[in-house]
Symmetry: C2
């Protein structure tokens, strides 16, 4: 796979896995599923396709040390630091400037750092097909085959099959559907040909920069200035100047939904976001009750308990989620674990920074 | 109140409040209800009636340091140490030997260390009446007015009022009923004149020693030998010799249910044992959810969470009991919290001494 690079997006806050996921260590830095963290897994799973020296990461400054600790093989000039959050269109643009300076012919796969992909061989096939399509000038999105009419994702309606050879088909995009209502989601899933937009993209750097120029000219101007300054002592001051000129938007709204050359590669890769404790529980829970260590259960079923180093005793309870950390204890049900966000919002309003 | 002494029984294991209550620090040593521990409360609440120098405590050797730490005013020769458990008839007998040696005319109130009594003024009245009856030669039990047809207690059926003057009536005992079936308990509570046996007694030391002689002669012989040896260098070796000769039984079965001179003083003293986490929750829970520290609740009701130093977040859960300790986490419901015993029994069988 000559020329394929990976850009890992590590800007997520991961509040839906509070109280374990915190601002100082969001969920991509946690080993929720095994020995490796989600960030490490993200790099591991493309290691057969993309060598370590072609990995880039974009992240806020406060996670610089954590990233180098968890990814010791990452080149330090491949960790791109966004000064403060401006939406992922700006963050990706900043990383594109670094990539363009490093290799103007680069094709890059943009991958979130906090997702789960169970089928690595399938992912490799998808990346190969997407790279071929990207080399032909497409902005490629990976489309996840829906497993349920989930209303928490945006959907992509696929159009005609494109004439791109490869191990997986590539299709044109007919339209994007923002997070739908339940009945609309049901219709799309029943109809087939609709995919979840999981925020994973493959494109030629020069092609996406052209799209920035067309759809987000202010950001494109900033990217040009940064591209010229990379590797020079001026870089930090240029970044400080141009960052506030970038558009506050996302790649999806700002670029992908507006561009005419977007393609989708249906990706049957065993993909999961970890949007709640209940979803994490689904992934790890091979036994009736799941606990991070020893457990004793009496008439207890379907519970998920994170309490490292502790023996967990469960008596007469069902479907609970309990997450025990040194300064906060969450007790909820799988059904309600999505509402952790409400608690985090309250703590934010109450300025409980110690707990965020 | 001349001559009234208090003997505090501190032999309980308190396993029903696991995982907080442990062999090394059973529940009487815990501050579950406020700043003072249950043991300290037991002494505090009789302080107007019995001065510190007339308090005795009987306990196993492993709690000696804890007791002196929590009751610094306790005379060291008033802490009576039972070498190993032989049932409370032996433990009380051992303490009676110490009391008889200290003051042969003593009247003593025997009080468990792990109960709650909310009405101290009422307790004082009850102790005054019971002391008068004890001075007339009665073995007096305090009878708790039942608040429910509880099948976890033994019952005392009261007979005729005795001719003993005092602030509270004293009645003869018609019979003792061991832990009853539900319908029997309901009949007794409906009939009135039946009281819970809470294991609290008042008697003249010489009178109870006479009863030991009559009903538990082996224990009585041991007590005589100990009484003679108290204060002498022989004491420890005599104790080592005679302890294994004592009867393995309780005061209730061994003495009280057999003696003919037993009286009962109805005691409306706001008494509670803390037989489960749910009962403790009833005592402390003035708010919808109770937590040991900060809490954030969303659609959560009637939960009890012990997690000192932690912020507790409750979402969409009801009637749970969660107890968080450094090495064990209990998650149960109020309804099922009595089954903690089952878990403790399992840990015992599995020889998980680290958790007991």
């Amino acid at each position: 796979m000559p020329r394929l690079y990976v850009l890992v997006l590590s800007g997520g806050a991961g509040t839906r896995l509070w109280p374990l996921s915190r601002r100082e260590r969001p969920k991509q830095f946690l080993d929720l599923l095994g020995d490796r963290t989600l960030l490490q897994d993200t790099v591991d799973r493309v290691s057969e396709t993309v060598p370590a020296e072609r990995i880039f990461v974009v992240a806020p400054p406060e996670h610089r040390a954590l990233i180098h600790e968890q990814l010791p093989e990452l080149r330090s000039d491949h960790l791109v630091v966004e000064p403060y959050p401006r939406g992922n269109a700006a963050a990706v643009g900043l990383a594109m400037a670094a990539l363009a300076a490093f290799d103007p012919e680069a094709v890059v796969a943009v991958l979130p750092s906090d997702h789960v992909v169970e089928k690595r061989a399938e992912l490799r096939k998808v990346l190969i097909a997407a790279t071929t399509a990207a080399e032909r000038g497409h902005l490629v999105t990976l489309g996840i085959t829906p497993t349920a009419p989930d209303t928490g994702f945006g959907y992509i309606e696929a159009g005609d099959k494109l004439d791109v050879e490869g191990p997986v088909e590539v299709r044109a995009v007919k339209r994007f559907v923002e997070k739908p209502k339940r009945d609309q989601a049901e219709r799309m899933v029943a109809a087939g040909g609709h995919y979840w937009n999981a925020g994973m993209f493959v494109w030629r750097v020069e092609e996406v920069l052209r799209a920035y120029g067309e759809h987000l000219p202010a950001t494109a101007k900033a990217i040009d200035a940064l591209r010229d300054a990379i590797g020079s002592p001026r870089y930090e001051s240029v970044l400080g100047e141009v960052w506030e000129e970038t558009d506050r938007t996302t790649i999806d709204y700002g670029i992908i939904e507006k561009a005419s050359n977007v393609a989708v590669v249906p990706a049957e890769i065993g993909w999961h976001d970890i949007g709640s404790w209940a979803r994490l529980a689904e992934l790890v829970q091979k036994t009736d009750n799941w606990a991070s260590g020893d457990q004793v259960a009496e008439d207890a079923h379907g519970n998920y308990v994170w309490a490292p180093g502790k023996t967990v005793a469960l008596i007469g309870v069902e479907g609970l989620v309990v997450v025990d950390t040194p300064d906060a204890l969450l007790v909820t049900s799988k059904e309600r674990s999505g509402d952790v966000k409400t608690v985090v919002d309250r703590l934010r309003r109450e300025e409980r920074d110690d707990l965020l």
